[in-house]
Structures are given as structure tokens and as C-alpha cells.
Symmetry: C2
Subunit: 492 residues, 2 copies
Amino acid sequence: MNAYAALLAFQRQTTALAQVSGLLGWDQETMMPKGAAMQRGEWMAAMSTSIHQRQSDPRIGDWLAALEGADLGQVERANLRHIRRDYHRASRVPADLAAEIARTTSLAQGIWAEARANDDFAAFAPTLEKVLQLRRDEAAALAPGEDAYDALLQDYEPGMSGAELSGLLGELRPGLVELRDRIRGAGRAVPRLDHRFDDKAQMALADELAGVFGYDWSRGRLDKAVHPFSSGSGNDTRITTRVDALDPFNCIYSTIHETGHATYEQAINPDYLLTPLGQGVSMGVHESQSRIYENQLGRSAGFCRFLYGRMRDRFGDFGIGDADTFYALVNRVGQGFIRTESDEVQYNLHILMRFDLERALIAGDLGIGDLEAAWNDRFLADFGVRIDRPSNGVLQDVHWSVGLFGYFPTYTLGNIYAGCLYRAMTAALPGLAADLERGDTRAATGWLKQQVQQHGGLYEARELIERASGDKVSAKPLLEYLTGKFRAIYRL
Amino acid sequence: MNAYAALLAFQRQTTALAQVSGLLGWDQETMMPKGAAMQRGEWMAAMSTSIHQRQSDPRIGDWLAALEGADLGQVERANLRHIRRDYHRASRVPADLAAEIARTTSLAQGIWAEARANDDFAAFAPTLEKVLQLRRDEAAALAPGEDAYDALLQDYEPGMSGAELSGLLGELRPGLVELRDRIRGAGRAVPRLDHRFDDKAQMALADELAGVFGYDWSRGRLDKAVHPFSSGSGNDTRITTRVDALDPFNCIYSTIHETGHATYEQAINPDYLLTPLGQGVSMGVHESQSRIYENQLGRSAGFCRFLYGRMRDRFGDFGIGDADTFYALVNRVGQGFIRTESDEVQYNLHILMRFDLERALIAGDLGIGDLEAAWNDRFLADFGVRIDRPSNGVLQDVHWSVGLFGYFPTYTLGNIYAGCLYRAMTAALPGLAADLERGDTRAATGWLKQQVQQHGGLYEARELIERASGDKVSAKPLLEYLTGKFRAIYRL
């Protein structure tokens, strides 16, 4: 057990440094002065070098070898599983490459933000080219001769492959397309908002809603960011949102979504703090929590009734006459450009498109020079709408600028996991709808905490979802939930 | 030159990590959720371990040895002087002790803040005891068998000794006591403020004043903190202030003071970024900049005339009828408990007291158990007033909680340096008073930038001040400035 204790103590400091890097990322998006971008790149690179040095420290190999065949408990075995995987990955990536990726992506984010503000993809393209090449180099180092996309995927969804994802996502596609076509065919008009919503009142409502979904304010905070995100873990878990005067749902559902991520981190067994088990087990599982908070709970008929009342209290009459109309409005299937503002039905079509494009980029089948056109063509084909400007198209998401190739499909995987969990949750909680109508999420979030969140990295992602839902992972429950919900709303 | 390039590249990453630690400190005081304190302690300790490992890396010794006797330019020689000094210090402090100091002081700060809020010194005493012991251990490791206080002083004012400081500070004392006695004896009444100053209007004025003193907003930001400070260097240099509804001068002069620190960092030759020359050369010189901004410029008759107009614009009639009365009010010599709110005459008496108490603590001549009583006795003797509660006494400053023994005297040293610089500045800028009356600080801050700030760590502290002022460092110019100014205000 001496080797185990030494290994965990070593690991603890590495985790602490990784969490510091996370805070730097948060600061960069919320607080950092603009002129600090270059210097911040140096900071990120220095952190990355230090972390990478520790992650690939040969002593980890020695400790792991000494523990081979040792008689260990469940928690210890799970810790070793994570450490072994991380060590094998880290020791394959050269330190220089890791530092270069950190430095480049830190700068690329600012360049992306400016290109997006100026609607100028060409200004971003050379940077994106460089980021893409660095990640391809990384994939080649991680798994020489193997599928590069699969190699990158392991950073976000360990154990998952591009082929498996294709299968799960493919399972979803026909049903979604059919449902959307029927909704469009029905031609049922849903009202739009035509009101200005005060900035401060929106942020006050965001504060309230984070609390309604169980956010622990003593261990977090809420700020604004261009692209909302949650950050941190354990006792320092921060969320961000954005405010659009004409669309309060942007702020509201970003907040609920990020609260789902953050409460997951806050709910993890405190004994796991700063160990490999002390964080969400995969991006897919993380997204299952944010999505179930946002959609299955937050966009339910019951919760919309509660939210309608709270909005009337805070904003007065905003032109929507009753809770049923409000519910239809919240779940309106429209024709927008922006993934993060999309409805539950079309959201996954956004993801399928990015998944295909980024697999082609990584495989070398699509060049950056052709990316904007490929995006616009595919969007026209899938959504029937022509992209009007890059900020509504290829420049809308931050992900690729920071090198997150392989990340997008975990969003839909999260929706699929959320579908599985929600079926089990409704069976376990017959009073759920009535609770939500009162704005009481305690039974639902308590169930998720018990079944999923507290475990952190104890189980593998798929195992965790299957234990919680009592069934194999499949896209079916999600599709059934969506079909049932939107047939009712659109009276199909 | 290969060894030099390798050494500087290595040093660059160490500096980046140190700057990350600085940002963690800023975040802790401004943004961090309260519940994150323990976890933050782990982060600080992990950063400290990584930094300390690099600072004491034996390769530094090899590079330095390889460069012995090399033919180098001025900048290179100055860089090596800093690196050599830091290396010798770092390699003497055991890594465990460095990490323990980082962890303990990170937590101690929160405990101090709570004790201060509750006016409960006993709740803080055991923590302070631990911090003191750790710093004494560090001093013993740094300079075995030598004066412990001198060893600690090197972190803040390299090359200075406790004995030298005693001399300079002693030079000041009789004149200050005499001046204060004459002011008190004159019995001239200065009006007090009796008005509530809006929080937001104070912060807006703070924004304006930082700009008036040349703060570059593209490379910084302003937030609130319990104890105002500035943080960072180069292109990420942040300032903080506090707001008291009844005393706007708290916010105003904290802001100007921290702007002095921050613009020093911002003005350093950008070629020095992330090298040992890329930061203020000592705490004394740093304080000379913040003090000359705050006092010699910010509390001058000319600038007070400008400020009076701006305050009338922002707050309306606040009960002070003319600019002369306002000037006397700003420079009122009163009977307060708080160092940071003290006037220019008595401020240094606050410091002399802390200097003597902390030297006694480090020497072991005074125990923590007797500190509160010693503070209160000394305050009564020096200021003629009985301390009413610990937050007005021994708990008022953050410094000792974070282990800053040896830091306090650099405040008065900074005042002494500022006195030297101001004498040279007024000789060089005959239009200064007229400029300040228009709120135009460009000539004054430009002179400081040219003479002092741009050089960063190129010269040693004392050499820098003597080059800029054209004379030996002495307390005389400060004393003459204070005597002249306050004799006029109090018509002595």
C-alpha cells in the first residue's frame, strides 16, 4: 500500500495543477483584460509543461508496476484505472507538442472571438489550420497507425469509438428527421416574443434558477461569458451565462444547463476530492446531467408553468397570455442558425453535422480552405436554410479554436444518456410533474445525485448509465421522449 | 551564449508559473467562493512545489557556472544577478517547507478575515503562531546562524538590512513627532465629511482616476477587495479598491495608490516580459511609485482642486464649500486607528511600530500571546489613543497572516524614496502644479516612467533611486516636503 499512497499523493498535486489551469481558462473567458492574451498563452504553456511532466513522470510507471496484482478495494482499483490510462496517454505525447498545443489554443481562442465579431472566417483560418495540425500530430503520437479521431475521442469519452458513435447517432437520425418534417408539415404557428427583457432582471432570475436546481453558492459563482460554460470541480465550481435582451431563454437555459454540469461536480463524494475519481467521468455523462436539467426537467410542461409565473413576477406582462402558450414557445421548433439556441428536436442534427465535418478534417478528407463552404452546403441540405454570415455558421462555436476535436458528439451522446436516465427517473418518481410545477427539483436532482453524480469516476461511463437506468444504452428512450413530447405540443 | 539562452528559456516558464500563482492570489481576494478555501490551499501548495522545484533545479547552477566570466551586456548581467540570488535562496529552502508555507498562508488569510470580522484575535492567534514559526524556520534555512529578520527582508528589499532600515527610519522619527505635536498644538479645526457617497458613483470615479493616472485598461481591471492591492505584471496588471459610503477618500486614494503600483508594472520595457527584469525591482521602489502617485501628486493642492471639481460633478454638494477647505480635509491630520487611512504625517509612525513589533516576533523577543497587548500599549504610547477593538488594532492588516514579515518597513522606505524622487521631479518640471490643477498627470507620470519605471529590475533599488534623484538616499527630502506642506496647511 506504500506505493499506492505515494502514487495518490503525487496524483493529488497533478490534479491541483490541472484545476489551476481550469481556473485560468475561466478567468480568460470572464475576467482577463484583452491585452493579456499573449502573456496568458505563455502561462497556459508553462502550466501544460508542468502538468505534462508530472503526468508522464516515470515514477508513475514504477508505482503502477509495484501495484500490479495487489489486492485492492473498488475505489483504489478505479483510481488506478484512471491513472494508468492517463499515464499511457501522457507518456506518448512529447512535452514540446503538449506545450505548443496549450500555447496555440490559448491564443487561438482570442483570434476566433475577434474573427467571429468581424464575421471574417479568413482571419481565423490559418490559426485553425495550425490547431488542427497540432491535434493530428497529437493523435499520431497517441495511437500511431490507428484511427486519429478515435485517439482524440478518448480525451472526452474514454472507451468510445467513432464507429460506435456513428451507430448510436445513426439510430437517432431517421426518427428525428421524420419528427421534424411532421412538425414543419403541420404548419402550426407558435408565437414569438416581442419584448425587451432587462439585463439585471435576467441575471437575478438566473441566480434564482441556479438555486432552484440545487447549485451550492458557497462553492461557486455565476458570471457572464460569450459562450457559456461551467468550470472547476469540488468546492470551486463556477458557471457562466449570457444575456440577450430580446431572448431571455438564452440566459435561462444556459444557466440551467451549466447548473447541471456544476452540480454534478459539486455532488461528487467529497472523499474523492483531488483524486482521479473526483470529477465527472466523461463528457457524455456530464452532458447527460446538463441536458436533463435543461430539457427533460427545465423544458417540461410542469416546470414551464412555474417559470412562466416567475417571469411574470420579474418582467411583468411580456406578451404571452397563458402557461400553455409559454410552454409551446419554450419548445418552439424553429429555423435558427445557432446550435446552442436550437430546440430539442433539431439540436442533434447540428451535432451530427459537426461530427461528420470534424471527422473529415481529422482524417484529412476535408481541408480548412473548404470548411466554410462545406459547412454552408451541409447546413442548407440539413436545415433548408442558407447561412447568412460566418458568425451564424462555421464561426459560431468556440470548440475547434481550442482544439476540441472529438468533443461535439459527446453532446448528443449526453442527450442519449439523458434519455435513458429520464425513463428510469420517471418510473421511480411518480410525483415528478407535480414537483416541477411547484419549482421543486429536489426529488429529481436528488435521484440523479444518488444514481449518477455522487460516484464521480468510480464506474466507467456506459456502466454508470446502465446501472442507473437499468438497461442497455440506446437512442430509443430519447427518441420516444422527444416524439411523445413534440407530438403533444404540435398536436400531430 | 547557449547556456544563457537555455537559462532564460527555463526562467521564463518559472516566471510564468509565479505569475499564475499571483493570479490565484488575486482570484482568492476578489472572486473565489468562500467554500473553496481548503481546495485553494492545495492549489497554492502544488504551485509552490512546482515553482520551488524549478527555482532550485540544479541545472540553474550548471548554467550559472558555465556563464562565470562570460562577456555579457548590461541586461544579461542584470538578469544573471537576479537569477543567481533567487537560485541561492530557493536551493536553501526545503521543498516541503515551501509547500507548507504556501498551504498554511493560503488558509491563514481566510482565518484572519473571519477573526477580523468577528473582532476575535484569539481565533487567529494559533494560526499566526504557525505562520510565524514557518517563516522563522525559513529564515534559519536561508541564512543559518545569521539575523533572521535580515534574511526575510531580502524577499522584499534585496540588499537592505534591518540595521540600515533602523537608521533611515530613525532619521525620520524626531522630525515627524515634532511636526505632529505642532499640528496638534495648533488646535486648528478641519471640517469632517457628513454625507453619504453612492457606491456606484465612487466606483465610477475610481475608474476615472485610474485613467487620469495613466492606467492602461486594455491590460488591467479594477475590482473590490477587503484590503486593496495590485497584482500581476506586464500585460495583466490588476488593481482593487474598497468603498466606504461615509469616506470616499478610502476608495479614491486606494485606487490612486494601486494605480501607482500597476502603472509601474505596465511601464516596464516590454522586452523584459517574463524575464527577471520584467517586474518592479523591490517593494520599496514599488511603494515609492504608489506613494508619489497617492500623496505628492494625488494629495497636492493642485490635484485636490481638480478632484474637488470632479467630486462636485459626481456627488453634488457634499458639504465642503471650497477647494481650500477640501485640500485641508484631504490632508487632515487626525486620530485614527487604521494605517491605510492615516495621513502622511502619522503614516510612518504606524510603520515604525509594526517594524519594531515584527522584528521582536521574529527574534523571539515577543510571543504571539503577548502581541495584542504589545500592539495596544505601543499604540497608546505613540498615538495617544486606546485601541477599542482588534479590527482597529492588531487584526487590521492582512500582511502577517500571509507570512509577510519584513514587508512593512518597505512602506516607509517607499515614502523615503518618493521624497527623493519628488524633489528631483519638481526641479525638472516647473509646470507641475499647474498640470495637476487641470488633472493632467502626464508630465509627472512620464518623468517617473522615464526615470524609474521602464527599467524594471535593470538596476538595484538604491542605485535606481540615486540615478533618478541625482543624490544619495536619505529621509531628509521627505521630511522637508512634509514639513513644508503641513506647515502651510496648518499655518504653523
